[in-house]
Symmetry: C2
Subunit: 102 residues, 2 copies
Amino acid sequence: MNTKQTTKTYNLNTDEVRLTQMMKALGHPARMQIIHYLSENPQCFTGDIVEVLPLAQATVSQHLKVLRNAGLICGTIEGPATSYCLNDDAVAWFKAQIGVLF
Amino acid sequence: MNTKQTTKTYNLNTDEVRLTQMMKALGHPARMQIIHYLSENPQCFTGDIVEVLPLAQATVSQHLKVLRNAGLICGTIEGPATSYCLNDDAVAWFKAQIGVLF
DNA sequence: CAAAATCATCGTAAATTTACGATAGGCAGG
DNA sequence: CCTGCCTATCGTAAATTTACGATGATTTTG
């Protein structure tokens, strides 16, 4: 019984929950660097990103997974490697949703 | 020596670092709720927000501090209470910076 | 088929975040 | 002044995140 709860609790709707997840994904320097890199190099492999970041391959792969789960990037297996790119639809949705929020 | 570092490391510029901090601040449900509430109630006290969230007063105050440090809101002491509102300049900057990123 | 290359996942320490009660500090009313 | 109200900060557990090496899975090359 921490709060009286006499008033309704503000809840986030589905869009806002998704937006929050995207914000969280973008709220880490390494992941922001990845997004920045992908916006300049629209199509690249995991290895390219690993070379450019001061992080171990496992860590980069982990960050890529976070961005994938947030829907911001999509990766396609291409032979032995994986190619990543920005998800343009998600980016557009993200921008639009920020306009709704503020 | 974890990386060869033969290539330059991608670094974030000052703007991107600040943007990342804002993203991180917005990447938590409670803080997103606060922002949502402030966008509907442009001027309100800490107590108003505490009533609306299912969190203890200390926790809300902590979240408000994160948003303040990110520059997204500003609080002014008003008598015995503190009044909070969105920082419109920061919001505008945030929106513009997203346009630069993507 | 064996070896090398590429990447994801696992297991796990260390660091950070989150949430809370308790406490402190400032301001208004009696 | 004292008391009550409002909020920030402190101290601290629990949960989550971050980063790494090691390992696996898959594909191409020799």
